[in-house]
Amino acid sequence: MATVADLIHGQKGIIKDFSEHLLPIKLLELGCLPGNSVELVQVAPLNDPIYINLSGSHIAIRRSLAELIELDIIEETQAP
């Protein structure tokens, strides 16, 4: 199952329904809801944390948290 942590630079994904485990409410408030898009903007020099665009909110989170957010990766056809 793909998660936000699996995104590569510039790649986007759509957040899947997460009924199984509960994500921190703070993440939801920032727009981490099923159906919303996530884009990986930057990765910090040591590969962690990652900087994402969560349906318009630009935030940085650690990989450990990113691994909890499941998504469907949209395959980019054109180069970014």
Binding site: L22, P24, I25, K26, L27, L28, E29, L30, G31, L33, P34, V41, Q42, A44, P45, L46, N47, D48, P49, Y51, S55, G56, S57, H58, I59, A60, I61, R62, S64, L65
Partner: protein, 738 residues
């Protein structure tokens, strides 16, 4: 006179809430603390049209009413308590036009508390650049409110906002979302048990983790005919609430908010690439750090020297102008010297906050946090610890307060515990005077030994902070969930007004906060040093004169006279004074110097037998192995209140009477130990510097740590381990070097 309208400004962080507050209130604002906690309370008065006035309260930034920190819980606490004197007649939610969707989440929550709520859409000047178009009228209808489009940068829209506030009675207080939709069954039951109460307020009381309003919460738990749900179930309902709110917001924005991404331009992408680059990112950060240190330690030395001179002059003036007596002494030696010791730090503190507020306002600080997080984690710290560690070089007090943004309790606690190791500005005067005394003047690879020593002391402080963080990370068994989250705001040019206000406020609170303690200690010290109960103290004049008659002046006094005469002779000869005139004037001078030397011997005898002298003698065995005498012991002891009193204490003890550094330094250089060697030598100097580098000598920091950790356990632990460690290191250093 009618009552002022109570207005609460609420908003997400980075929406320009403070700018709106500054524009509404101008200089009619004051910053205080909420009773009992150290959250800053900013309030001000704003004149509205038609002669009405509003009391504006700037609440801490929050993303929602689901609280995780003290700052945030304050917002909820106020909004739930109708009896609070600050309970708003009208709430103003500040949003940023680029992040409207997320900002509206908070708006709908506030509106559901049935408080009339105005929406401010800030940064309207960026709309065209970002390709955003708004249908304000339609949005007002959908959200059932009034909207003010504001640009604080261009000073637009504030008048409309004032109009809306004045007219708040016409703003709807109907909720956006019917709370029952979250869980019809649950809320029906809740309503049946508490028929006269507002459901959404009850819901907030039930779901908040932070320990506020325990009585309210208990009341609900104790209601016999109502069973609440498990934590897990409640959390699921909160998720549902979030989804429902976003559905409402998306429906609203679909028809009223358009973004043309093709028209959008921004620096974000390219600047981020550069500033978070794996090489350039660190390089730029390093250069910025160097600039900050340069400002604090070099540029600020000019105003500091100036302040120093002014206070020395003022003290001198008071002594010469006012009639001699206890009051004059207290004023000149206690109070003016004490105030001087505080004011001298203003340039450094101001520079530091200038830089920190520039970095924060521009959005760069979030990038630093992003860059540093992974590097800090092995030490049990968070990327967010970098801000406190930098601030700590000015003062640990604001630094400890700055740890509030760290979500993870363990990381936050470790940051609080190790921050006092970073070299704060209060250590600086101690280091400077000791370095000048004991470190030789030579150079190494073009750098002076003295500058190298200072740099080394900074590195030792920072290294110790990191090292002890690592140790604490291993020792502390605290389970806390890591929830690191940083918003990466858009880059913005800092607004001059905001930066200026921040610098002003922080400097003010430092001066008054730390100032009170330093002033109090100076006065107490002065009193203890100039009073005594023993016969030796009372008959000092007599005893000393007798001794001088019998044994002559002390070696110290003889040297003092000799040196002064020698330098006078040299100067006079250079001026071309004739030999006979010179001989006469030297005789006069010697008499004068002798008198002064006797007076000095009397006062130092007095001091030795004053309250403080006796305390110092009792304390001496503890500091003797570190190479200090009782006078340094006293200075070290009083420094536990605040390090910066070290120099002042020695000044008072040596009865130099002024804080002018040169004189104190000369006095210190002339001090001899029992065996006639200089008291301040390489061994004792290094030992002292190391002691100051590691010891927890600051009451204000301990008080802040107590408040921030909510227990005495941590400040006492800090005081204990830092001071014991400092003692051991200083002991080893002295014994090795002597």
């Amino acid at each position: 006179m009618s009552k002022n309208i109570n207005v609460a400004l609420i908003g997400n962080p980075n929406t320009g809430k403070t700018s709106v507050f500054n524009q509404l209130t101008g200089l009619n604002q004051k910053v205080g603390n909420y009773p009992g906690i150290t959250v800053e309370k900013k309030e001000g008065i704003c004149k509205l049209p038609r002669g009405v006035k509003a009391h504006i309260l700037d609440l801490p930034g929050t993303y929602s009413l689901n609280t995780t920190s003290l700052d945030e819980s304050l917002v909820v606490e106020l909004l739930l308590n109708k009896n609070d004197k600050d309970y708003p007649d009208v709430a103003v939610v500040i949003s940023d036009v680029e992040n409207l969707k997320r900002n509206l989440f908070l708006f709908t929550q506030i509106k559901d508390l049935k408080i009339p709520t105005i929406l401010v859409i800030n940064m309207a000047d960026r709309m065209s650049r970002k390709g955003i178009s708004l249908d304000v009228a339609a949005m007002e209808e959908k959200l059932d409110t009034k909207i003010a489009l504001v640009s604080t940068r261009k000073r637009q829209g504030i008048d409309r906002l004032k109009e809306l506030i004045a007219d708040y009675k016409n703003i709807s207080s109907a909720p956006n979302l019917d709370a029952k939709r979250i869980s019809p069954e649950y809320f029906e039951r809740l309503q049946r048990t508490f028929p006269n109460e507002d459901l959404y307020k009850l819901w907030l009381v039930i779901t908040q983790d932070v320990n506020f309003m325990p009585i309210e919460k208990k009341r609900i738990q104790d209601a016999t005919d109502f069973t609440t749900k498990s934590k897990e179930e409640l959390k699921k309902l909160q998720h549902k609430e979030t989804v429902l709110r976003y559905q409402f917001i998306n429906n609203t924005l679909k028809e009223t908010y358009k973004v043309d991404f093709l028209a959008a331009k921004g620096l974000r992408g390219s600047l981020d690439k550069l500033l978070t680059h794996k090489v350039f990112g660190y390089l730029i950060f390093f250069v910025i750090l160097l600039t900050i240190f340069q400002a604090i330690f070099d540029w600020s030395s000019y105003p500091m020297d100036f302040i120093d001179e002014q206070f020395a002059m003022a003290s001198e003036w008071v002594k010469n102008t006012l009639p001699p007596g206890i009051f004059t002494d207290l004023l000149a030696e206690g109070i003016i010297a004490g105030i001087g010791g505080i004011v001298i730090f203003i340039p450094q503190i101001a520079f530091l906050f200038l830089f920190i507020s520039l970095l924060e306002e521009s959005g760069y600080m979030s990038r630093v946090v992003f860059l540093m997080d992974r590097l800090m984690r092995p030490f049990g710290l968070s990327g967010k610890s970098i801000v406190p560690l930098i601030s700590g070089t000015a003062c640990a007090i604001p630094a400890v307060m700055a740890t509030r943004t760290i979500e993870n309790w363990k990381e936050r606690l470790i940051t609080i515990l190790v921050t006092p190791f970073t070299t704060c500005s209060a250590r600086l005067p101690v280091y400077l005077i000791l370095i000048a005394l004991v470190i030789p003047k030579g150079t190494f690879l073009g750098l002076s030994y003295q500058a190298l020593t200072l740099m080394l002391l900074y590195l030792i402080g920072f290294g110790m902070a990191i090292f002890s963080a690592m140790v604490l990370n291993k020792i502390l068994k605290i389970k806390s969930r890591s929830l690191f989250m940083v918003e990466m705001p858009t880059y913005r040019l800092p607004l001059f007004k905001n930066v200026a206000y921040t610098v002003l406020e922080k400097t003010k609170s430092f001066v008054f906060g730390a100032g009170k303690i330093i002033l109090a200690i100076s006065i107490v010290l002065w009193f203890l040093g100039s009073n005594g109960y023993s016969d030796d103290f009372k008959n000092a004049e007599h005893i000393v004169s007798e001794r001088i008659e019998k044994d002559g002046l002390s070696t110290y006094s003889k040297n003092y006279i000799q040196n002064n005469v020698a330098s006078y002779r040299e100067a006079a000869l250079a001026d071309g004074m004739s030999a006979t005139v010179l001989q006469d004037s030297i005789t006069v001078l010697t008499e004068e110097l002798k008198e002064r030397a006797i007076a000095q011997e009397i006062s130092s005898y007095k001091l030795e037998h004053s309250y403080i002298g006796q305390a110092g003698k009792a304390f001496e065995p503890f500091v003797k192995p570190l190479g200090y005498d009782w006078k340094i012991g006293i200075a070290v002891l009083t420094s536990f209140a605040a390090r910066e009193v070290f120099v002042g204490t020695l000044a008072t003890i040596y009865s130099v009477g002024s804080d002018e550094e040169e004189t104190i330094k000369n006095r210190m250089a002339a001090e001899l130990d029992d065996e006639g060697r200089p008291l301040f030598n390489l061994a004792s100097g290094i030992s002292l510097m190391l002691f100051y580098a590691f010891a927890m000598q600051c009451m204000s920091t301990l008080a802040i740590v107590k408040r921030e950790t909510n227990s005495w356990k941590w400040p006492l632990f800090q005081l204990g381990f830092m001071s014991v460690f400092a003692y051991i290191v200083a002991l080893i250093a002295y014994q090795l070097l002597i």
